[in-house]
Symmetry: D3
Subunit: 248 residues, 6 copies
């Protein structure tokens, strides 16, 4: 497991992708306590989405699009981004000749505990399988968000590594896609994501918060959550609908 400490140095690279295509070896880290703050929020993505709305920040995707593999999972962590595109060669040839240009393992290699791997992937094929999920888990990642297919659901569940993905398919990306960038800016289901952006994901969807706005978002989200708690208490107490508090 990679521990981000003073004197933290990135690990030996796997070489699966040219080093000049790794835009950042270490994405910006969130300040102390921020992750924990977001983790304490109930109905996290909704309250975060509301605050992002109020602040004019875009970056929320519904669970109808990014479907969770572990419905009860809720994760918070900085994005470690990966961009995959199609290979040019015919898969008939690359599969026979074992031409493998996927490099999300380099992302696992670079991951620090708590990171969320965010893959701008290729539709119709798997951009992350079970062994990869298991590796991510071993590295201490919080989970992954994939625009594109994933596979081996039983495997990733067994190791308790949560994924949000647009598709599920046994068809490998190994012979079909190429990882062309790590820790560059990517595009996920109509949202731009930068390395280090804070990812908040639960059964309702996924929010990507620019890291420099994250503290502000958290503070307002906590206030809003408190107002919501008051409203829920009033509902439980039997307050008539017309008399419920309206601020939350």
């Amino acid at each position: 497991m990679n521990n981000p400490t003073v004197g933290d140095v990135p690990p030996k690279l796997t070489g699966k992708i040219s080093p000049d295509r790794i835009r950042l070896l270490r994405a910006p880290r969130p300040p102390h306590g921020l992750i924990e703050g977001f983790q304490r929020l109930a109905d996290a993505t909704s309250v975060v989405s509301d605050i992002m709305d109020e602040l004019g920040i875009t970056g929320v995707i519904g669970a109808s699009v990014l479907k969770p593999t572990l419905p009860s999972a809720r994760i918070v962590g900085p994005a470690l981004t990966v961009r995959n595109i199609l290979q040019a060669e015919h898969v008939y040839e690359t599969a026979r000749e074992h031409v493998n240009r996927m490099a999300e393992f380099e992302a696992h290699n670079l991951a620090l505990p708590g990171d969320v791997v965010v893959i701008d992937g290729v539709a119709g094929v798997s951009n992350m399988g079970g062994i990869s999920a298991q590796t991510g888990k071993r590295q201490g990642e919080a989970g992954a968000v994939v625009s594109g297919g994933i596979r081996d659901l039983a495997h990733s569940r067994r190791v308790d590594y949560p994924l949000w993905a647009t598709q599920i398919t046994p068809v490998t990306g190994k012979w079909r896609i190429e990882t062309v960038e790590i820790n560059g800016d990517v595009q996920i289901a109509g949202v731009r994501v930068s390395p280090g952006d804070l990812v908040v994901a639960d059964e309702t969807g996924v929010c990507f918060i620019p890291i420099e706005r994250a503290a502000e978002v958290l503070e307002l989200a906590e206030r809003k959550a408190a107002l919501e708690d008051e409203k829920c208490a009033a509902i439980e107490a039997g307050t008539a609908v017309a008399d419920l508090p309206t601020k939350a």
Copy 2:
């Protein structure tokens, strides 16, 4: 909780929607025993759909379109309808200025125990969140059917309030949509629904039965269910496929 008794009067309104846009304060109530009859049916939506077919009644939607949040839930109750459309203003402005024009809480306010809130909502945004679901539960509603997005799945599950919806997303409708009608005729995924129509929903889908045909549908459904029980018994008894009864 609102109890529909002799002398039942609707509650004080919330004012979230102009009273002249509430077409009916009280939708027609099903005759005694009808709800219970439908609740006793196994594989309810399928047998009801078959009878509606035979009687030339439209109004059935599959669970691929209206997806349940609680797969084991099965509900029966009269429709309390809500119609939402988009706001005209830019969400950047309405979110900052807290311009909230949603009024499904007025529907909760008017709901009688057993009602099913049916929302002809806006796609891509949430038309009902967790606090709203909790309020509906407190009011004694059976659940809700939403054409459009919903959010806070963990919250609505925790309070055991079942929803069927076309989408799931954290993005609030608060600053984006306006409730323009309660208890008017609405359109849900290609079906017209009137207030008081009987809603039967389970993991296979949702049926909307015109209330004036509901007793007839139930009677025929019960007969059909009995025939199906006979067929199942024959299967369990080992009857050869070619000799199974063919009426069900």
Copy 3:
């Protein structure tokens, strides 16, 4: 239950479909041990899909398209194919007059233990309901794969009969569709399937393997699975990502 033994003769036909539209009464059977071999594979559809890629065999469909009703189910068995198309008459008339032209019961009638019923069905309506699933279970089938709708999920789960289908809907196919062929070549979500092809299905998707290639696929799949086990062991042992074996 139909036991395929020496002297096996097909059962008395149901007559739901003209006998000349049954292309084969008995599809080719896989050699002894083959089914069991595939059943032992972990992450079965992914490893099988990889080998099919390497051998230039098409025939894999993701679980985003063919969605499982029992996520933990994993089945392997020879395909017994059914082709449904729409009826020409108006459903208003056929429902009233009980014109039923579905004949997947003839497939159940012909099924041998372990068979997988593969239905090239009609979209938007149910091509297999709960009683049919129960019949299939009684006949010893492994399950069914349906391009089109199915219904009665609670029923098929109760009898533990797994289905993979593109849609779920209460709307019956009885009055709307006609079974026009049994054990002909069919097309499922962009894949051609022949009777006797080996079906491997799990939560990640469905593979259709031409029976004459199945032994070869299994042998290579077992080798690959062993390599994957080694890789997983290395991950668990804490091997650095850059030093993990790369053959799997």
Copy 4:
């Protein structure tokens, strides 16, 4: 033809829709010269869309969604809105019994010259046919925008009445839909439209401008168009790309 003059009175109603469902007999009229100003803009929808962006006004839909029937047509005029929803009865019965609840002819009846009929219609069926288009033309309308199907393209082209619609189909709405509101607020492909909003439509798409912002939009659009003319002149004059003006 209806001429909006001093003392203008709406015509005798057709009775195809209950008068209380006509929210306004006369939508607000644009100030003198406004229509003509927008008509003079080249590439009208694009320059208008840009100004709406700058002013934070939503309301633009692309021609991939609202497809024009007459590609060279370009229209500008105030919206006269119509809302259609499905009928509840089975079309088998309503067609046989000629139950016609469409009332877009009431909109033609109320139309003033230059109006654009904007129909929030039903998908999969025709919300406006050739005779209706011919009537609209006779009334002096500029054209129509339909969210839903239309039919009789040869007819509407012959009378030179341009339409923008999401679908084309021979299937009539007559027996399938009901007009439930005229000159209410409607929703067109993700945009809210109010009666009197200015519609600008060409081969690239459709813009809906709130009437109270229209003069402001026009003034800025004219300025922008002038800058674009300068840029085009520079291109024609052979200015190097790096030296082209960048304001437009």
Copy 5:
């Protein structure tokens, strides 16, 4: 060109498809005068669709689905049906080895003047190209309707052979699909079509009329067209909207 005369015998077969897969060498021919009657109808598919509605006949598809290649074309003729499904082999191999299993040329071979080739084809690939269209034209066919892709638009236009298709793509079906049936019952975009069914197609869509109902449909369509002519004359004469005849 094939002339259907007394003593008409089908031509020598091409052998591209097994003769036992040709269900009929000659589809039923419409009675004398029927084709011409339908050809005289203005706005043909709409008026025909209306009558089919009134008689409870299904079989109409909009031009948003079956898009015409020659917008001004309008054709009427009996269906000569073709069914294509995918090949099982990998296209990498079949293309290299020139394995061509398409047989729509056998349909051209069997076509009588005025026939409409109706192909239940494969999506994403071409089911009819330019040379095939030219052959159909030479044989005297009225045109073709294709559920699936077509190609060589310039070629088919040059020889004035109109097509209605769901897709356009240069990708050949030659190495990818197999024609498995000629003059069987097929399914086109949710409609069942039998050989000999009358096809009426124009820019608004396509109607398939069961041949045994065609005379009845024509008679009612002519009556309706006459009523529509009266309504159009009234519009041209300036009749107020509220006073227009309402029967058409």
Copy 6:
């Protein structure tokens, strides 16, 4: 206009994109005569697609996906690639503050006569407008292929600059997208395209040929076209269908 001669030097950059994001100032040029050879092919994309199939080369997209703005246009030329992704900021702010990060003008700046600009763009917004098209025309480009929206169809037609695009919309990309790469490898509708790849586009679709295979493709395409000419001649000569040559 940029003339690629001996001593050709790229022009002064516009600075709209960081120079280190321009992967190549000059893409590889096709050998003399190659472009002209492809231009002579009738039904060009189909015959080219066939040869690519035979050689195991992927890279063909149908006109249902990439829709032409000028149906009669047919272009051949080397790809000059552009990659756009979304901006991160809210469009409400970027539009008001005129934050423009599009840089396809840098591509026009770098274009040599005959180049085809290939944009891996953003869906739902315009990635190329009329002034940009006019600039491309002035620079001598053959046209453009855009995965994403375009606008100002009247403008680009007036200057006779053909485009193939997935969408049409007035909504500008200026304030919404950022050009992040020029002459890198891009992905267009499921096909990988490299700078210098030969683009062949007509009304049936678009082919992208790796430049190093282009001569081989042309030679085989010419042979195939000759065989097709023979077949067309045989058709015109009245050869019976069963006797037509089968090689083309």
